[in-house]
Symmetry: C3
Subunit: 278 residues, 3 copies
C-alpha cells in the first residue's frame, strides 16, 4: 500500500517550481509514494486537452492508482475539488469536466465533493490548489485514507461530451482536429466507424479536406507513404489521424487544434467489415 | 535511509542526455535513491532563476532530502562546489549564489566547500560537473556519507539578495518582473506588505504600470476577471502577480522578465489589516 | 530484481499522453519497476539523435538496467523489434540503427529479434509500438523474463556509423555539427585526436569555420571567454565543441545540426602530448 502510485496530469509546465512543489507535498506525507508524470504540459487552461490526456493513459495503470488531474482555470472559486472512484482507479480533480472522458469510459463510478479541509495544506492559496489541496489529498490517499473520508457523494458533477463529428449526409461528415501531437500528426475526432467505407477492404473512394490539403489515401503505417504525401491512418488513440512520413502533417496542411475536417466517402458496402481494433 | 530522496533543479534541459546521465551516476552509486525532478528547465545560465525555483519548492519536501541545484555558468573554474545543510535539508550546488534565497529563509545553516575529490567521477570533465561532481556526491550522500566528510566549513560563500522593490515616495514604488510563468502570469518582486493599501479591505485606489498596460484592480481568483482584463493578485509564491483570466498577461502587457513595474497607491489606512497569508 | 531500473529514451515528447501510457504499461506488469526518463524529447524521427542520446547516458547506469530506446519512424512495418544485451546492460529498440553507437562501444554483444508476441499488448496498434510492444517487453523483463525467451539471436541487425570527419589534407579536416544543445553549444563530430595540435600544450595555430564565424581559440572553461567570443573546448561527450560564455554559440554562428565545420590546423609537434581525457 505504501508504494502507492500517484500520477500527475497537469498544465503546470516543466519550467517552474510548480510540479516540484506538488511532488514535495505528496512525498512529505508519504515518502514511499511512487509519483509518475503522465503529462505536465497540458495546454494551459485547456480542460479538454487535459481530459483527452488522462483518458488515453489511465487505463494502462495498475489497480488502485491515484490519478491527479489538475487543469484548473477556476482555481479559488467555488468550483469543487472532487474524488472520483471507478472500479480500478481513483481520480482527484477540480469539478470542471476534466474527467469527462473518464466518466464516458467507466460504468461504475462514484464522485465525491472533497470537503475535508483538515487534509489540506494550511493556509490554502487562492491560485495553486494543485499544491495546497490536490497534492495533499493525494498524499493522504496514498497512505490509505479512503475516498469516503473526504466528503459526500454528489451526482451533479460537471461533465461534457467530447466534440463529436456531425454527419451532413449519409456520405459526408464534418469533424474537427482534436489535437496536433509532437510529430505533427493531426488527430481528428473521427472514429473509423464514423466513416466505415474508408477502412473497408477494399477501401471506398473518399476525400478528407483539412486546411489547405485534400487526402484520399489510407495507409497502415507511416513508411508506406511517399515524401510529402498526407494520408489517413487509424491512430493509437482509436481516432482517424492525418499523417505524413517523417514530416509534420499539421504544418503541411497548415492547421492546428480546432480546425475543420470535411469528409466525403462512398456508401458502406452491404456487409461492411468492422474496422480492425487498434 | 537507502530510499533517500534526491531532487534535481538544473538548467540542463530535457532535450539531451544530460539529466539522464546525472540520474545514472546517482543510481549507480545507490540504486535505491529516489530521484525527483523539481525542474530541469531553469533558464540557461540564470542563477537567479535557479535560486527562485529551489526556494519555492524545497520546503515542501521531507526532512533529509538532498537537493541538487546545478545552474553553473562558472563550471571548470575555481568556483567551489558546496554542500549546505539546514535544519531539515541538504543542498549541493556550485558556490555562485544559486542557494541565496535558501540562505535567506534558513536560520541554522552550515556551508562546506566540497574538496573530497575521491568521491567524484574520475576523470572530472571541465564542462559537466553536474554529472562528474554533484551527481556523484549526491549518490554518496544518499547512501549515508555525511556532509562533514566532504570538506571544511566556510563562511565566505557567495550570496546575493533577490532584487528588492525601491520605494520612490510613501505612495509609490518601483518593482520589476521576476519571472513570467507558463501561463503568462507576471510574477513581480513586490510583496503585499510593500503596497499594503492595495490589499486592504476596502482596497485603496492604485495603479500598476507594466509594459503597455495599467492595472487598477485586485481579484481573489482568475475567474473574477472579464476577458482581456489584467489584475493584481497575491500569488502562490507570496508575491504580487499580474494575471488575466485564461490569457497570458505577459503577452497582453508586452513584457518579459526584468521589465519595470511602477506602482502608485493610496497611503495605508490608520490600522491596516494584514494582507492575508497565501 | 523487482526494483529493476527501466530507462526511457524516446521521441514521444512531453506534451501528450504517450510517455504516460508507456509508463503505465510497465507498471501494470511490474509495479516495483523503477522507471527513469533519460530523454523523451529526442528530435522526432531522428534515429541518429536517439543514438547519440542513449550512447552518452547508458554507461552511467548500474548493471542490469533495461534501456528502452524508441525512435521508430518505421513503426508498423516489418522492421524488427530487438533486444540487445551487453556485458552490463539490456537494450530494447526497433532494429533501425538507433543502438549503433552502443554497438560501437560494446565488445560483447548479443542481439535478438523479439518474436514472442504473447508478451505484447493485445491488440498491437500500427503506430505505437512504444506502448504495445516495447513497454510490455520492458515490463516483463523487469520481472525477470530473460532475453533468451524473447526470440532468436540475429547477426544482420541494422547498424550505421556515426558521421566521421573527413581529412582534406594533413592539416585540414571537414567535420559537421552533430547537435546543438539547450545552451547553444555546437557539438561537432571532431574528436580531439582528429586535430591533435589544437589541444597540445602549447596549442598550435588553427581556424575553425562554422556558419558565419571563425574560431581560433581554445579555452578550458566557459568563463575564460570574453562576452561574444566563440572558442573551442573539449566537451563532456568527448567531442570538440564550439561555445561562448553565457551565450548560445549556435545562434551567434547562425548554424544548426548538420552544418559544415571546416578546420585547418598546424602539423602536430614531433612528440604530441595526448589530449587530456575529459
Amino acid at each position: 500500500l505504501a508504494q502507492r502510485i500517484v500520477t500527475l496530469t497537469t498544465d503546470f509546465g516543466v519550467s517552474e517550481h510548480y510540479v516540484g512543489a506538488i511532488k514535495g507535498v505528496i512525498l512529505s506525507l508519504n515518502p514511499d509514494a511512487k509519483i509518475v508524470d503522465i503529462c505536465n504540459s497540458v495546454q494551459s487552461y485547456d480542460v479538454l486537452d487535459g481530459a483527452i490526456t488522462i483518458a488515453n493513459a489511465y487505463r494502462y495503470y495498475p489497480s488502485d492508482t491515484i490519478h491527479m488531474v489538475v487543469v484548473d482555470p477556476g482555481v479559488g472559486t467555488t468550483r469543487r475539488p472532487i474524488v472520483a472512484t471507478t472500479e480500478r482507479h481513483i481520480f482527484l480533480a477540480p469539478d470542471n469536466g476534466v474527467l469527462s472522458l473518464v466518466y464516458e469510459r467507466e460504468e461504475r463510478l462514484s464522485v465525491r465533493h472533497i470537503t475535508s479541509e483538515h487534509f489540506f495544506l494550511n493556509p490554502v492559496s487562492n491560485t495553486f490548489h494543485g499544491r495546497d489541496v490536490f497534492a495533499a489529498i493525494a498524499g493522504w490517499m496514498s497512505k490509505g485514507v479512503d475516498a469516503i473520508k473526504l466528503g459526500d457523494e454528489i451526482t451533479d458533477f460537471v461533465r461534457f461530451s467530447a466534440p463529436k463529428p456531425k454527419p451532413l449526409s449519409p456520405t459526408s461528415i464534418k469533424a474537427l482536429v482534436l489535437r496536433v501531437d509532437k510529430f505533427g500528426n493531426i488527430i481528428t475526432n473521427l472514429r473509423p466507424e464514423d466513416v466505415p467505407s474508408i477502412f473497408q477492404e477494399p477501401a471506398g473512394a473518399f476525400t478528407i479536406t483539412v486546411g489547405k490539403v485534400t487526402i484520399n489515401k489510407v495507409h497502415q503505417n507511416y513508411s508506406q507513404a511517399s515524401p510529402g504525401e498526407l494520408f489517413a491512418i487509424i491512430g493509437s488513440m482509436g481516432y482517424v489521424e492525418i499523417s505524413a512520413n517523417r514530416q509534420p502533417a499539421a504544418a503541411l496542411a497548415g492547421v492546428n487544434k480546432g480546425a475543420e475536417v470535411n469528409v466525403t466517402f462512398a456508401a458502406a458496402a452491404a456487409a461492411p467489415q468492422a474496422a480492425p481494433a487498434q
